[in-house]
């Protein structure tokens, strides 16, 4: 639950041009959910977390999210490319 909500919220935050206040709330929720989810996963699986393909996809999606933040001022093509890759990883995280 935390997983799906967290990533959905983060994706919304990064892609939809919402009002600044709404974006802050969404970002806070996203970070909360994602951190809870990641901590729980890490607690359950320990250092073997990255042996598990879906967990790896989640972690990679996080890396892309950070890159997307850094690359925000790049052209739209770079943003869409990173966003598409992140959505693919989130999709894999859910179905694999």
């Amino acid at each position: 639950m935390t997983s799906a909500l967290g990533w959905l919220a983060l994706t919304l935050f990064l892609s939809v041009p919402l009002a600044r206040r709404v974006r802050r709330v969404v970002a806070a929720l996203a970070v909360g959910f994602a951190l809870t989810h990641g901590t729980l996963a890490l607690a359950c699986a320990g250092p073997h977390l990255l042996d598990h393909a879906p967990s790896r996809h989640g972690a990679l999606a996080s890396v892309l999210a950070v890159t997307l933040l850094v690359a925000r001022r790049d052209g739209p093509v770079a943003r869409w490319l990173l966003l598409a890759a992140m959505l693919v990883l989130i999709g894999l995280h859910v179905i694999a």
Partner: protein, 747 residues
């Protein structure tokens, strides 16, 4: 610069960067994406000054390079990223996670299908070709059981009268040699279940083919040659040209003179063929449904799994006595020969007529001649040494037993290496003994793994290669000394060896998948070494993971809709499982069509333990179902002869019906209530009795770690997988346990 050109440039830089370090994983791809994005941002001022055409060109080159590197590794990439098995999981979810749904989704004649239809009042199976209907029985909780008749090819499940679920057509029938006389051999079931083919052994010509519904509209399941004619066993009766005996569904039959022994479920029924018709002589409760049935002049030998029973053929003198004194029997449950012998001596003093033994391995084929009983198996003493040699230590062997005492007198290990072997530990001859027959004193063995026919005389085995068209022999008969009739089921051919040459007759299309299933790896092991194809035989794997109980190689039916695979759910798809297994055992010896093997495995389905026809006699509400005329009375008669000892754990593991009496409908409904109340249905959800989820040891309350696949329970009663490792996952109280166990008998 247009957006398309920009995309080409960025994609090219990304994939080109990844191609330089072609580590096949999404991690590498993502890191390449991050690195290329950051790199482009840092050097933005510089590359923006380059001509647009140059950037597009570089981008296109990068994309081509990336795709050329990635494409050949796409399968490996998917597997590494856990995408293996997404398609089978999606298929299973589509078929089973909805209502109404049915399991198995493929039609399995003679077996039980479970239909989940919570709001339905009636469920029926419609045979559209013959315009017949078989009503299902409500078990409660929205679950219905419907038993498919034997003679059916296509069916639809109707919910409240409306055709709702179309079952996949039945799998291709499995041909068998029904019987053979000096001049002819009768093959049943190829290429259609209803076909009977009579082959002239002398000329090798097909003498007669009887097409659909040959015997009074009934399906022939067995035949024997008796004196002047052939006696047929159908799904309802035993009959010759003039007379008929409605003794129930014939599973197997054998004749000695005028006496015919017929296996009907768990009962062995003796009947005499006389001028005025069939005269029932005696019924004997076997405690299991025999798969193998044969006879010498004195006794009938029945076997299933590791259990072998010999029953003396009733004579006019002993007949009355055995009926009034009830059946008695000798248990010789050990591998100890001396014990077996001493028990049989005391048995003869007490005029006992039934002997039982449990062999170290499962019975795959049997032959008898006089006092020599030969058994093909895949274990001699593996259970004792399994800790040292590992899980997949298969010992292809032929055991010789004394037919009078059932004591093992000799064990011939057949698997061996020839000079052709080219790999350390490779074994390439004497693999998969699958059929036996005596030719005088010589015991002839057909090897399905190595494609040989061997002669065993005084412990020495001489083998000879079979022609490629008969490379996977699954049945063998010797109608006349010197003549061999071999059935190669995967090749769909019958071969006759006569006058030093083979003549082959095509019966059905060849199955590459079945052939691959028997194809050996370099280690000498094939899939069929452990997962014995047909006959409910299997191989016992050693105790592992700290458990003290040997486990059985699991049943390979219903795989298509029950991913993931392996107990630990380590494999998402059959392709991966097969590839990894073959690699583990040194690779295939000859090229194998793995895709055909997967397709063949996915086509194998198995239903529940169909006992509904016995429900009809016990429960009026199921009166619309077919009944076994005449059987129920005699079952009451023989119930006294039951082995009333508590079934041992070993019996449970053998997975065959340990009790004579099948569960009644009330038992099943009550058991299902207990099953649901105990929470079993939370994981083993209807109709497949699995939710296909993987659970951790912690979720299951086990001390052990690891991941555990939730197995389907359908087919449980007749397979060896009673509990995954000899212990129940759930702890339930004793009363519920009994009720649930009764219910499981019906699965």
């Amino acid at each position: 610069m247009t957006a398309r050109a920009e995309l080409t440039w960025r994609l090219g830089v990304w994939l080109g960067a990844w191609a330089l370090v072609p580590h096949v994983s999404f991690t590498a791809l993502t890191l390449a994406l991050v690195a290329s994005t950051l790199l482009l941002r840092v050097s933005e001022a510089r590359w923006r000054a380059w001509p647009a055409n140059l950037r597009v060109g570089i981008g296109a080159f990068g994309i081509a390079l990336g795709l050329a590197t990635l494409a050949p590794e796409a399968d490996a990439l998917g597997r590494h990223e856990g995408l293996d098995g997404v398609a089978p999981r999606a298929r299973a979810a589509w078929a089973l996670d909805r209502t109404p749904s049915v399991f198995p989704t493929r039609l399995v004649p003679g077996e039980r299908h479970f239909v989940l239809a919570p709001n339905a009042e009636r469920v029926a199976l419609l045979d559209e070709a013959r315009e017949e209907r078989t009503d299902g029985v409500s078990l409660g909780h929205g679950l219905f059981a419907v038993d498919a008749p034997f003679a059916i090819e296509r069916a639809v499940i109707a919910i409240d009268g409306a055709p709702s679920l179309t079952l996949d057509p039945r799998a291709a029938p499995r041909p068998q040699i029904g019987c053979a006389t000096e001049d002819r051999a009768v093959v049943l079931g190829a290429p259609r279940p209803s076909r009977v083919t009579v082959v002239d052994v002398a000329s090798g010509r097909v003498r007669a083919e009887r097409h659909d519904q040959p015997i009074h509209g009934e399906l022939v399941r067995a035949c024997v040659s008796a004196r002047d004619t052939i006696v047929w066993g159908t799904d309802r009766a035993v009959l010759d040209g003039t007379h008929r005996w409605d003794g129930g569904r014939v599973d197997a039959m054998v004749a000695v003179g005028d006496v015919i022994a017929v296996a009907v479920g768990n009962v062995l029924r003796f009947v005499r063929r006389a001028d005025r018709g069939f005269e029932p002589l005696l019924d004997v409760a076997l405690g299991f449904s025999p798969v193998h049935l044969l006879a010498n002049e004195e006794a009938v030998f029945a076997a299933r799994g590791r259990r072998v029973v010999s029953v003396a053929i009733p004579t006019t003198e002993t007949e009355t006595e055995t009926e009034t004194e009830t059946e008695s029997e000798t248990e010789s449950e050990s591998e100890s020969e001396s014990e077996s012998e001493s028990e049989s001596e005391s048995a003869s003093e007490l005029r006992r007529t039934t002997l039982r033994t449990t062999l170290p391995g499962d019975v795959i084929a049997m032959a008898v001649r006089g006092a020599r009983l030969a058994v093909a198996t895949n274990a001699v003493d593996a259970v004792d040494v399994i800790d040292e040699v590992g899980n997949h230590y298969v010992e292809d062997a032929v055991l010789e037993l004394d037919a009078r005492t059932l004591a093992v007198t000799r064990a011939h290990r057949t698997a061996r290496r020839t000079r052709r072997q080219d790999h350390p530990g490779a074994v390439d001859a004497g693999l998969l003994p699958r059929a036996l027959a005596f030719d005088g004193e010589k015991l002839v063995v057909a090897f399905a793994g190595s494609g040989e026919l061997g002669g065993l005389v005084s412990g020495a085995l001489e083998t000879r290669r079979l022609p490629r068209a008969l490379a996977t022999p699954t049945a063998l008969t010797i109608p006349v000394p010197g003549v061999r009739v071999v059935l190669a089921e995967p090749e769909g051919r019958l071969g006759i060896w006569r006058d030093e040459r083979w003549q082959t007759i095509e019966l059905a299309p060849a199955s590459e998948g079945a052939r691959a299933f028997h194809a050996p790896t370099r280690s000498g092991l094939a899939c069929a070494s452990c997962h014995v194809d047909g006959g409910d035989a299997t191989h016992r794997l050693g105790p592992t993971h700290g458990s003290s109980t040997p486990r059985a190689a699991p049943e390979l039916a219903n795989l298509a809709l029950t991913p993931p695979y392996f107990r630990s759910a380590a494999y998402g798809s059959l392709e991966t499982l097969i590839e990894e297994s073959a690699r583990l055992f040194g690779g295939w010896r000859e090229e194998v069509d793995a895709r055909a093997l997967v397709a063949w495995l996915e086509g194998r389905a198995r239903g529940g333990n169909a006992t509904v026809d016995s429900w009809s006699a016990r429960d009026g509400s199921a009166g619309t179902l077919r009944s076994r005329d005449g059987l129920d009375t005699s079952m009451d008669d023989v119930r006294d002869g039951l082995d009333d000892s508590t079934p041992s754990h070993d019996d449970m593991r053998d997975g065959v019906d340990t009790s004579m009496e099948p569960p009644t409908l009330d038992d099943v409904r009550d058991g299902l209530d207990a099953f649901v109340a105990a929470g079993c249905a939370g994981c083993h959800v209807f109709p497949a009795f699995t939710d296909r989820r993987v659970r951790t040891g912690a979720e299951l309350g086990r001390a052990r770690r690891g991941r555990w696949d939730t197995p389907s329970l359908v087919g449980l009663a007749r397979t060896h997988e009673r509990f995954a490792d000899g212990e129940g996952v759930h702890r339930v109280d004793t009363e519920s346990y009994e009720r649930i166990a009764r219910f499981l008998e019906s699965l």
